[in-house]
């Protein structure tokens, strides 16, 4: 039984309870009214019977006096009745209907005329009794009761009235109670629902995180291996350019495959949010226009690409190259969802995610975001798969057609960038992915320093220290630097590296791995810079969990080459460092 069903049944029992209560109250009121009416009738009947008895007694008493015309006696008899405060009027009439004796308390004189139909009038009881002796009618006694005093009448209604009031009060209290209970129940349900939602989101995020750690670990090892493979092949091709063309072709194919492998590990790292990002204050409008221009020929003629860029779009604090990759990944997914063509729309807008929105989701900070929405008119994603699509290696494409890493790259990258993404999909209608990129308040992109690219093979009067615990990578780096014309020294750890630094003041630059046993690259760099403030440091890493990356972004003034790298990439980065300030 779900919470909602329970709620419904409890609400129904609430309603039936309220109905039963209402029926009880109505029954009680009806009973009170019946009792009151019965009591009223009883009282009237009793009063009437009493009045009749009194009239008969008076009639008997006055018989002889009336017969013998003894007025004084009549007045005495009638006068005795004055003691009865309940009597309103008394009259004794002779055989001819003439009033012989009587009194009245009200202005209404006793009147034999209303004797003809003895009735209660205005709450008064009027009774008559014949005065007769041995069948001989001698006259009539008229007797009128006072109307029942208000206090006495009210007194009779006190008990049923009290019952009714208590019943109503009870009903009121119970229904108020029930309403309060219902309200509390509803609040509780809402809370439970919110908590369930939050728990589901937390579970999902924990799952993603553990998958991320796993893939990140694998990617790290793979990157080291790929660095060696790629580096060795690179060296082979450079140093033995005159070798047997067949050998060179095999080497190039091996290198191409290794490149693809490196690309895969990069996506894995992106998903696990462990790739080093270089966020800048990026112009999203320009990027979107640029990418849509690239996409049009790529997606083919059957798919139209529309771009809707809002005016005055903010800048976003984001790594542009990764954003481009993300949009391309989403566009590829859109294309695959529209085999018979359709339209792809990229929209941008400034949005504000408020507290209410942020509360429903994990990992969202309320604030200003630049929204990029990519909408296709494709097959859509069934609701039951929506939660899974961001998981790595999840794909709806046929085996071999997709890696299952596209959306996971997008997800990991956006989350790592402090953004947020939302997926809306309806089967048969299409899918919209909304990316929320954190707004940048910095105005412009930092201009990249112009780099004078050195030609490889030039000798140069510079000594570089390579620090790398993994022998294969160290050897490749050493060879690569030699190839680039540097003098190279190498160390397999922080301790030897510092010794070499002290012994060789000519070292101008240190290229160090980040993750090493005992002392990591960051700490080594700090110590080295302490000893040699003029030293330039370049980190190389394939996987950065700590040390130089904080919250997924590089510290300022930190230079990094990402493993695996080619000799040319390494050369370019070193040139940039040497040309820069410091």
């Amino acid at each position: 039984m779900t919470a909602r069903e329970m709620t419904r049944s409890s609400r129904m029992s609430d309603r039936s309870r309220a109905l039963a209560l209402l029926a009880g109250v109505i029954a009680l009121i009806a009973a009170s009214v019946v009792v009151a009416l019965y009591d009223q009738n009883q009282t009237v009947a009793r009063d009437r019977a009493g009045a009749e008895v009194q009239a008969r007694v008076l009639a008997d008493t006055v018989t002889a006096a009336l017969s013998f015309g003894d007025r004084a006696a009549l007045r005495e008899y009638v006068g005795a009745l004055r003691a009865n405060r309940g009597l309103d009027a008394v009259g004794v009439y002779d055989g001819r209907g003439r009033l012989v004796a009587g009194f009245t308390r009200s202005r209404l004189a006793p009147n034999l005329a209303d004797t003809l139909t003895p009735a209660t009038a205005g709450g008064r009881i009027i009774v008559h009794a014949p005065v007769a002796q041995n069948g001989e009618r001698l006259g009539t006694v008229y007797l009128r009761d006072r109307s029942e005093p208000l206090a006495r009448r009210l007194g009779r209604y006190v008990a049923p009235g009290f019952l009714v009031v208590m019943a109503l009060l009870m009903f009121l209290i119970t229904s108020l109670d029930a309403r309060r209970l219902r309200r509390a129940n509803r609040a509780l349900e809402t809370q439970i629902a919110e908590r369930e939602k939050a728990e589901a989101a937390l579970r999902q995020s924990q799952k993603m995180e553990s998958i991320g750690r796993l893939t990140g670990g694998i990617a790290h090892d793979f990157n080291n291996m790929l660095a060696i493979i790629l580096g060795s092949l690179d060296l082979l091709l450079r140093r033995h350019a005159d070798a047997d063309p067949k050998i060179l072709r095999f080497a190039r194919e091996a290198m191409a495959a290794a490149d693809r492998a490196a690309d895969l590990t990069r996506r894995l790292l992106a998903f696990s949010r462990l790739q080093p990002l270089k966020p800048t204050s990026a112009d999203i409008a320009r990027t979107v226009n640029h990418i849509s221009g690239l996409l049009r020929p790529t997606l083919g003629e059957t798919i139209t690409v529309e771009t809707v860029v809002a005016g005055g779009l903010w800048r976003a604090h984001i790594d542009l190259s990764q954003l481009e990759t993300a949009i391309v990944n989403l566009a590829i997914n859109a294309r695959d969802a529209m085999p018979r063509g359709g339209s792809l729309t990229i929209e941008t807008a400034n949005t504000y995610l408020d507290r209410a929105y942020a509360e429903g989701e994990l990992e969202i900070t309320p604030g200003q975001y630049v929204m990029v929405a990519i909408t296709d008119t494709g097959a859509g994603i069934p609701p039951e798969l929506l939660a899974q699509v961001f998981e790595p290696f999840f794909t709806t494409k046929p085996v071999g057609a997709g890696t299952g890493l596209g959306l996971s790259q997008v997800h990991g990258f956006i989350k790592q960038s402090g953004g947020h993404l939302r997926l809306y999909s309806e089967v048969g209608v299409g899918t919209t992915v909304k990316l929320y990129l954190p707004r940048s308040l910095t105005d412009a992109e930092q201009p990249k320093p112009a780099v004078a690219r050195a030609r490889p093979g030039d000798r140069r009067d510079l000594t570089v220290l390579v620090v790398e615990d993994e022998a294969g990578v160290r050897e490749f780096a050493t060879e690569a630097l030699t190839e680039l014309g540097f003098d190279v020294l190498s160390a397999d750890g922080a301790g030897p590296a510092l010794e070499i630094l002290d012994a060789h003041p000519e070292i101008a630059l240190m290229l160090t791995d980040v993750i090493m046993p005992e002392t990591n690259g960051r700490m080594l760099a700090q110590e080295a810079l302490h000893r040699r403030p003029s030293l330039r440091v370049v980190f190389m890493t394939g996987y950065t969990r700590n040390a130089i990356v904080h919250n997924g972004t590089l510290d300022a003034d930190t230079h990094l080459v990402t493993k695996p790298f080619t000799i040319a990439e390494l050369g370019a980065e070193l040139e940039a460092v040497l040309a820069g300030p410091g």
Partner: protein
């Protein structure tokens, strides 16, 4: 039933009925009765009837109800006028004037006026066991009913014991109205 014993006051006697009108007349000596008093007494004679129960033998429905005036007759035509058209139950009321009383006199009510041939005492003696309501006016020779005058009004005393001897039952209502009652012996 209450036994009356009340003083009469002039202020409570309003001059509406004939009985009360008597008050306005100058008091007259007892033997010389006024015409009004006589008329009232004549009326009283038949008015006693409903309040008295005669033995069953006397209650023959077809026979007239007889009021007898024995001896001296003070009423004259006043009595005839008073009983004219009156009935006791279904029985018409008749007036019989007798010179002497006898135990079998056909009377239900008998007014004993007395005469030379038969004094009131003798008449009462003869009627003692008879089912006849005897009425007298002589304080020394009392019948079952004795007319008297009190406060200028015609009143009566009742001898319930004598009624019992005669086999009559007097209604308590009438006993209540009497000036005085000689109670029955237990």
């Amino acid at each position: 039933m209450r036994v009356r014993a009340r003083p009469m006051t002039a202020s409570r006697s309003l001059p509406r009925l004939a009985v009360v009108l008597a008050l306005l007349c100058p008091p007259a000596p007892a033997p010389a009765q006024t015409a009004l008093e006589t008329a009232v007494k004549a009326t009283f004679l038949y008015k006693f009837a409903p309040f008295v129960e005669w033995p069953a033998s006397q209650s023959v429905p077809s026979a007239p109800f007889a009021i007898c005036v024995i001896g001296k007759d003070p009423f004259g035509s006043a009595l005839d006028r008073a009983v004219n058209g009156q009935r006791v139950g279904a029985r018409p009321v008749v007036v019989r004037r007798l010179s002497v009383a006898a135990p079998d006199s056909p009377c239900q009510i008998a007014y004993l006026g007395g005469s030379r041939t038969q004094s009131v005492r003798e008449g009462l003696g003869l009627l003692r066991q008879a089912p006849v309501l005897t009425v007298t006016e002589d304080p020394s020779e009392r019948g079952i009913v004795e007319f008297t005058s009190a406060g200028g009004r015609v009143r009566f005393r009742l001898d319930d014991q004598a009624a019992a001897e005669a086999g009559l039952t007097i209604s308590s209502k009438l006993l209540g109205l009497a000036l005085s009652v000689t109670p029955r012996k237990e």
